[in-house]
C-alpha cells in the first residue's frame, strides 16, 4: 500500500504504521520518520513562535507520488506512507511523516532516508518562520541539497 496525503490536520504515526502491517506476515521491518517543529534553530536567536507551511496544491501530492515511485524502483518496498502537513504549526507539532515497510531493515531504512532527503529538496513546500522580532522565509539549506545528491 502506497499513500500520499497533504493535509492541515495532525497525523497519527502509530495508526499509519499499523495500517501497513495489519494482517500481514511478510513485513520484517517498519521504519517511521516524524519531523517536528522545533522551538529554536540557532543558539542565541529569538525563539520560534510558529511555522507556517505554504504548499503548491496538486503538485505536492504528485511530486511526492513520483518520489515514492522512484523509491520503489530502488528498493523492494512492501508499503510506504508519506503525510505532509500545511498551515500554521507551533513548536512540538508534527510536520511530516514517512513510513516504509520491507522484508528487511536495510531497504526500509534507506528508502525512508531517501524519501526525506528528496522531499526536502523536491516537494513544493515553503516554511515561513514567525519569531518575536520578525517573520522570514526559511532559506534552503546546502546540506539538504547534499543529502539529496548522495542518492545519485
Amino acid at each position: 500500500m502506497f499513500t500520499v496525503r497533504i493535509q492541515s490536520e495532525d497525523f497519527d504515526p502509530a495508526a499509519e504504521s499499523a495500517a501497513l502491517t495489519r494482517g500481514r506476515t511478510d513485513v520484517g521491518a517498519v521504519v517511521t520518520f516524524t519531523g517536528l517543529c522545533r522551538a529554536q534553530d540557532a543558539p542565541g536567536g529569538a525563539p520560534l513562535i510558529a511555522l507556517t507551511l505554504e504548499h503548491y496544491p496538486g503538485m505536492a501530492e504528485e511530486e511526492i507520488g513520483r518520489l515514492i515511485e522512484e523509491a520503489r524502483a530502488r528498493w523492494p518496498l512492501l508499503g510506504a506512507t508519506v503525510i505532509h502537513r500545511f498551515g500554521r504549526m507551533e513548536p512540538g507539532d508534527n510536520i511530516v511523516l514517512v513510513v516504509t515497510t520491507s522484508a528487511h531493515r536495510g531497504a526500509a531504512f534507506e528508502a525512508a532516508e531517501f524519501l526525506m532527503d528528496w522531499l526536502k529538496t523536491h516537494a513544493p513546500f515553503w516554511k515561513l518562520e514567525e519569531r518575536a522580532d520578525e517573520n522570514s522565509w526559511v532559506p534552503a539549506k546546502d546540506s539538504d541539497d547534499e543529502a539529496a545528491g548522495r542518492w545519485g
Binding site: 503548491y56 503538485m59 504528485e62 522531499l119 526536502k120 516537494a123 515553503w126 522565509w137 532559506p139 534552503a140
Partner: protein, 83 residues
C-alpha cells in the same frame, strides 16, 4: 497561460496567480522569467536573482531552458524548504 507564485515570489509580486498571453519570442521558462521581470517593481524584485527562482511546468519541476510548449500552468517559487 496560468502563472502561479509561491512564498516570497508571491509576496514580492503581490499575486497568487494570473493569466497572461505569452508574447512572441517567449519560448522557455527563462524567457518567461525575463519577460515577467520587466512588468514592474514587484516582478523585478521577485526575479532580481533569477538563478534562485525555481519553476514547475504543469506541476513538474522545470529548468530554465525547458520549453513552455503546450503547458497550461507554470509556477515560480523559491527553493523548497518542506520536510
Amino acid at each position: 497561460m496560468k502563472i502561479l507564485y509561491f512564498a516570497w515570489v508571491r509576496e514580492r509580486i503581490g499575486l497568487e496567480a494570473e493569466e497572461i498571453a505569452l508574447p512572441e519570442g517567449v519560448s522557455t521558462v527563462a524567457d518567461l522569467a525575463a519577460f515577467l521581470k520587466t512588468r514592474g517593481e514587484g516582478y523585478a524584485h521577485a526575479f532580481e536573482n533569477p538563478r534562485v527562482v525555481r519553476a514547475a511546468l504543469d506541476r513538474r519541476h522545470a529548468r530554465p531552458d525547458t520549453p513552455l510548449g503546450a503547458a497550461r500552468e507554470i509556477a515560480f517559487f523559491p527553493p523548497m524548504t518542506g520536510g
